[in-house]
Amino acid sequence: MGAFDAHIDRVVDSNGRAKRSEDGTSAHTVDPAIELEDVTFAYGDTPAVRDVSLTVEAGDFLGLVGPNGSGKTTLLHLMLGLHAPDEGTVRLFDRPIDEVDDGSRIGYVSQQATNRGGAMPVTVRECVTMGRFAHVGHGRLGGEDREAVATAMETVGIVDLADRLMNELSGGQRQRAYIARALASEADLLALDEPTVGVDAESRDAFYALLDRLNDDGITIVLIEHDIGVVTDRADHVACINTELYHHGDTESFVESDALADAYGATGQVVHHHHP
């Protein structure tokens, strides 16, 4: 099918990025991409995230796992500044989260596309082009922007859908358009919340292979995925949460640990997290 594999080099080449060494940890003294310190957040009286501290190094590939309603999405929103923590601090690109003003460094695919796009006549091309808006601000879109959009659409195999309306597409096609929008932003950090829901198996495998290549080129990735196998196959590090952080470490230590059973088992026993 060839989806997802065209022109990868073009997607990632235009920004100077931190390169990783072979062992998957930060090679140079690069600033961490995301730092959470004792972060707590509640919706009213319902705690969603309690006392979570973790650091995502630049160039890392972090898989975020946990049962439904465990606070994965909330934690990702806290990392991106969509929620302000009740307690604790969040730093992004080594700056306090509310001082981060360069949106062009973040590419984001939300869960199940939480936009209002329902009846709004927006074409796939218009949607993907939004990935460039943080780059151009109030200026005009240039040739470089159109090229990034074209490349991103080619990468996820939706070139022939470019002039179709988003609300005429199937769920999987629409999701690919959102992935293309995140890719078009040529960001340093990709935050993906179950990005392949509704996407067919073949395109999904191709998409995760693409994530691997982007990560090899130094892009930091935070991925929420309900399929634990995908996470353990792809991610360098795994954070397992169920309101509290049950495990954060490299993938191997996660596989060997009981974190998954503990987090999903809801035995009432609190396992305190440990940083490697």
Partner: protein, 355 residues
Amino acid sequence: MSGDGPNSGKPTTPENAPARGRRRTVELAGMAATTALSAAMIGFVLLYWAQDLPVASDLYAGFRALGRSMDAAFGTNVFRHPFMWQSMATGVLIGVVAPLVGTFLVHREMALIGETLAHTAFAGVAFGFLLNAVTGWDAPLLLVALVVGIVGAIGVQWLTERTDAYGDVPIAIMLSGSFAVGTLIVSYGRGLTGIAIEGYLFGNLGVVTVEGARLMAGLSVVVVVAVAATYKQLLFITFDEQAARVARLNVTGYNTLLVVLTAVVVVGAMQVLGVILVAAMLVVPVAAASQIARSFRETTYLSVIFGQLSVIGGFALAIGGELPSGGSIVVVAIAIYLLTVAASGFSVRAISAHG
């Protein structure tokens, strides 16, 4: 997910390319005509203002002569009167700016905001009448309405962000509340002056004053420039607010800009359309355009073109049948909407109208 391969979509075949080209030509022609008409109308307002200056007086005399010959051609008694041109200039400009702002409002599911701000502006007009009656000062009513409308707009925005209720609850409270205040002021002021507020309620070509047309011309330039400068940002927050926040767009700022622009449009438009009908021009042409548009940019263009056709058709109906302008314009707009529904095979795209 078998039907989900990248090639399952309708491909961009060469045979539908000419149709798209024709479509684009029609749209661009419509936009060009609208732009020319709007420029001519702003030109008239400026000429009227400057009619005592040397060059402008000749041009203005030319305009009057054109009006007289139009009356002769159509057998009417309309175009020879400068006050009718003031009304028509205001109408044409409403036909541009109301659908322009409305495109974003409708797709943000904020269609009722326009109605709410019209009622706020109504309270403003009533307050202006009272102020003038009590102080003997001659404050321009629409300027007072504009200030009250913008304060109301920021109030609605503040309420919807701060309260836990559904988005449309604060709007409903604001809508009826400001109208209630307006009626109280009218009732109180009636003892002091003979307040002629009906023109603002139902819209009347005769209501448009020279100052009103000038205000509309100025506001139109501001609105068009503001929307053109922030088109990308308004599109992004309308389509996907969460992603726009992640991209570090000032979502609250652009939301506020949108409601303030709405207040500005509403105050300009209430002279011709009336408080009760003003929201129709924000919503109906956009609904018609969304019915058949093939992209968001096309929605914007078609909204403005349909808005313009509604105003011109409505004026023709109002002048020909000696009917109120507001009702005529809205009826024509709805006729256009029904035509687009028919043209798209009676599949109504469900645009939510709440909130």
